[in-house]
Structures are given as structure tokens and as C-alpha cells.
Subunit: 142 residues, 2 copies
């Protein structure tokens, strides 16, 4: 999670919403990144998607079996869906996101009966620092 | 939608789940594609994501304001989330997907109070052909 927070700080410095994510398999980081939606002109380039795509390329498979994802903010519906498609075994997220999160709020993607793969979920790790990064970022843009 | 169906047929021929998508702005196709999850080793490479990313690159913006998306199958939670993030004005989909769809089934992403951008949705266009392509594909794999 410390590495995910480091990515979130890099995102803030480049004017991107400060969220970072890391994919780990057997203790080794195989995917990592931060929000790149503006930089890459890509509406799908949330931190989780960037990290998942990198990890899948590294493994040469679209299924990240036995991998875990650390992300500084509760994933949205898009990212929760991608986490399920990727077969992530465990999701650890930092700050909760009542406005956009879709794990413990809103669409609650993993709680849907149709959800084919549900990861173990651990919430609140590094939440204070993750939330503070976001608060500062949005305060600075006002 | 005919072009989206053509992409779905190409997907089937290459062993990918036959779903195709097209993004149109002012009557011009600016993004198109089909499922590439296996080919690209990318769990996020659903037809909609492929088409949205291409369109955003073409416009040089992560927001596809005034664009519409045609896709042969009801979008899943990941893709519905991406469609909302991309600010797609109108979504036209073909076959409904009770098992994985998240527009009119399951997570119902656009019906969530927190959903910041809700597109107009038209369902069932080209549904019979879209569903037949999927039925044949999965029957052939058994």
C-alpha cells in the first residue's frame, strides 16, 4: 500500500486525481500505476486499470490468478468489474468513496448475484493518507 | 450497429467472445473494435473499452462529449462504468445479458444515485443476430 500511495503522490504532481494501485503476485510487484485519464486521453485509465493491464501483460494472461491488488481509493464500478474479470484474489483499498465507490457503496459490484468472481476485500488500509491526498488535490483546484 | 456486428463476427473468427462496438461522433466512426481479452492478454479489453479508448485517442480527450456507442451486447459493470466516465451521450446495445449485463440487470450502474453521467439507452437493436453469434460461439466451444 505504501507503493500505491507513492503512485498517488506522483499522480497529484502531474495534475491527475491522486489514486495509485499495485498488483502483487507471490510478493513481487507485477503491475503498478496511477490515474492517467488526462495524460493519456483515456477515460478508462484509472490506477487500477493501468496496474491490471500491466500485470496481465507481464503474466501473458488476461487472468491474474493468485494476484492481489492494492489501491488507495475504493474502486468504482468500472474498476470493480475489471478486478472481477481479472480474477484478482484479494483487493485491499485505502479510503472509502461514498460518491464513486462501487465495492461498499452504489452498484456494489461484488455483491451482485451475477458476479462470477468475488475477491476477498480488505478496506481502510492507509485510508487517512489516501484521503488526505485527495482532499488536498481537490482543495487546490478550487 | 451493422458495423458493430461485423466486428463481433471478426472476434468469433479469432476465438474471442463475439461482441463488437463502434463509437460515432457527428455520423463518423471514431472508435471501433471487438473483444481482445485473449489476444491482448488484457482483462479490460472488452469491445466497448477498445472502441472508447480508440475514440478518446482520436479526439485527444478523455471525455467523448456528443458521442454515441453501439455495442452488440448489454455492457457489463466495467463497461457501463467506462461509458459513464467517457460521457457517452447515447448507448445503443443489441442482445440483453441477464448473466453479465449491468445496464438493465445486476449492478444497474446507470440507475445508481451516485452515477455522475447517465447516457440515453436504446436496447434490442440487432439483438437477434448479436445473440445468435454468441449462441453459436459458445455452442462451438462445448
Amino acid at each position: 500500500m505504501l507503493q500505491a500511495l507513492a503512485h498517488a503522490r506522483i499522480a497529484a504532481e502531474s495534475g491527475e486525481v491522486p489514486v495509485g494501485a499495485v498488483v502483487v503476485k507471490d510478493g513481487i510487484v507485477i503491475g503498478e500505476g496511477h490515474n492517467l485519464t488526462r495524460t493519456d486521453h483515456d477515460p478508462t485509465a484509472h490506477a487500477e486499470i493501468v496496474a491490471l493491464r500491466m500485470a496481465a501483460r507481464a503474466l501473458g494472461s488476461e487472468r491474474l490468478v493468485g494476484c492481489e491488488l492494492f489501491v488507495t481509493l475504493e474502486p468504482c464500478a468500472m474498476c470493480a468489474g475489471a478486478i472481477s474479470h481479472a480474477r484478482i484474489a484479494r483487493l485491499t483499498y485505502g479510503a472509502e468513496d461514498p460518491k464513486g465507490g462501487a465495492v461498499d457503496h452504489g452498484a456494489r459490484v461484488f455483491a451482485q448475484e451475477q458476479c462470477l468472481h468475488v475477491p476477498e476485500v480488505i478496506a481502510g488500509v492507509g485510508a487517512a493518507e489516501a484521503a488526505e491526498l485527495l482532499r488536498k488535490f481537490f482543495a487546490g483546484r478550487r
